[in-house]
Symmetry: C2
Subunit: 306 residues, 2 copies
């Protein structure tokens, strides 16, 4: 018999997913659907409420809470998405309170990278670890920091914006106004850009560059250099995180972890070379385990955080 | 009538200081002396015990605890100084337990930069702030991080080693094995080295370089450039810290804060240019207030931390 469960919802770039999960992290049921961005705010909010309500009505146990993970900056005190590239229609709208009102129960809102870090810490690669940093490698680079078992949020929920940390002081210009942000040197977009600059092709995906590296053609060396360069940039970031936090675990998540064998050796070598704390403390640097489910589980865990 | 007090001891590079302090941070009494490094371990331990015992015997109130701040890496679980340039004779010696044994009461050991951050948070520039980073500018650069009112220590007490964060990937070689550590570009040693490289003099102190900058001679422009370069390197570090933590307060301490007017504008400008979190969240960046007393007060606060 189920005594208690939570519902987590992850509002991703293209998918809306919701799950009912018990205290041990066991998936009880789930719902997935496309995110109706083009139809605007009301359609998105409707779909979110619908998914949560449907799951809630399938169980007779006690609902311990609802957690919602969304991309972008969130001001936690008022539960508002302040800035989100993918969710422009939800910006500066009191989404947490609106969801609470329609569902008739409190909702906890969280940034998706923070939720992913929490999910990995709960039932993924960070089990039994109370301090970790999650580095999320996608189109850009995001991060989530768990310190003492809690999400490190900072004063405006903006902590963990590690994608915009400088790794090349005079490096590539970034939309944020800086030059040499790590996400300009180690993200999916950076790989495509490097492939273009090295003459491998105009709009290659990271997967295509990866396949070029393995193909054993005259283009392979350049493709290898792209991933080792990516690894070196990540290594500078990693050395900085290790020097700052001295945490025991650093997780790397996102689609680019598929190229782990090509970039991770350079990343580890660079971090080791640059950080004596790394060399002295032997932190674990590993792939995250929950894939793109981490944010969903992390959202479901939010009500248990207390 | 004094009901409760603590004793803090700061074992500095040249001085040993101890103070009896009440719960409100009021100094009740203090003792200072030279640190007898050349006389070896027993002399140092003897002086520490003597200073603490003397203060303890002067009060009839209840001693709530004893905190000791020491330079170097400390493994907190066993209370041992693992590595310290200034305290080689105390390395790998169970100093915490030895002090406890001789004093007949528990002693709390802490790294001096962490203690300084705690002191500032208690009764210095960080009053009423529960999240801050202290950047200590001296011969090298150290750091202490207070998160949620507690010291962020990391898994081996090595968190906050921000002096060895890379700000210039191919910059000056550092004894730690890295190149371009911020302490190679923004510490007292870095200022002396830049003055030498720019032909201002062979072994100028930061104070002498500062005076050259203000002198209005043909050397002043170069001296100004040294401090603005120092500020830019600190700005890269500061942007990184703001992106990572999104804390409301960053304090700068140490003797080099005497040159604040020459390096701080470049530091703030660089941090602002490089971090949209900085521009969006308006963190306070200020001089610490307790000077070289911060570690002493932080040590005295350790027993209250619980």
């Amino acid at each position: 018999m189920i005594t208690e469960f939570t519902i987590g919802l992850d509002l991703g770039g293209t998918n809306l997913r919701a799950a009912a999960v018990d205290r041990a992290g066991k998936l009880l049921d789930r719902i997935s659907g496309k995110t109706a961005y083009s139809e605007g705010r009301e359609a998105i909010v409707h779909d979110m409420v619908e998914a949560i309500s449907t799951l809630r009505n399938r169980f007779t146990g006690s609902l311990a809470g609802i957690g919602v993970a969304v991309p972008g900056f969130i001001t936690l005190e008022d539960g508002i998405i302040r800035n989100s590239n993918n969710l422009a229609s939800l910006e500066n709208f009191a989404i947490r309170d609106e969801l609470s009102r329609r569902l008739g129960t409190p909702v906890i809102l969280e940034n998706d990278a923070n939720a992913a870090a929490l999910g990995e810490q709960w039932i993924g690669a960070g089990r039994n670890v109370s301090d970790l940093v999650l580095i999320s490698l996608g189109t850009g680079i995001g991060g989530g920091i768990i310190s003492g078992g809690k999400i490190l949020r900072g004063s405006h929920g903006m902590a963990g914006e590690i994608g915009h940390i400088t790794v090349v002081p005079n490096g590539n210009p970034c939309g944020c106004g800086n030059r040499g942000c790590v996400e300009k040197h180690a993200s999916a977009i950076a790989i495509t850009a490097m492939a273009r600059m090295l003459g491998l092709g105009d709009d290659l995906t990271p997967k295509e560059v990866y396949e070029l590296a393995l193909a054993g053609t005259e283009k392979s060396e350049k493709a290898h250099i792209i991933f080792s360069s990516m690894g070196e940039s990540l290594g500078i970031l990693l050395a900085m995180l290790v020097n700052t936090f001295n945490f025991p675990l650093y997780l790397v998540s996102g689609g680019l972890t598929g190229a782990w064998d090509l970039f991770a050796p350079a990343m580890i070598a660079e971090a080791s070379r640059r950080s004596f704390t790394f060399r002295a403390s032997f932190p674990r640097v590993e792939k995250a385990q929950l894939g793109n489910e981490a944010g969903l589980y992390g959202a479901a865990y939010l009500p248990w955080l207390g």
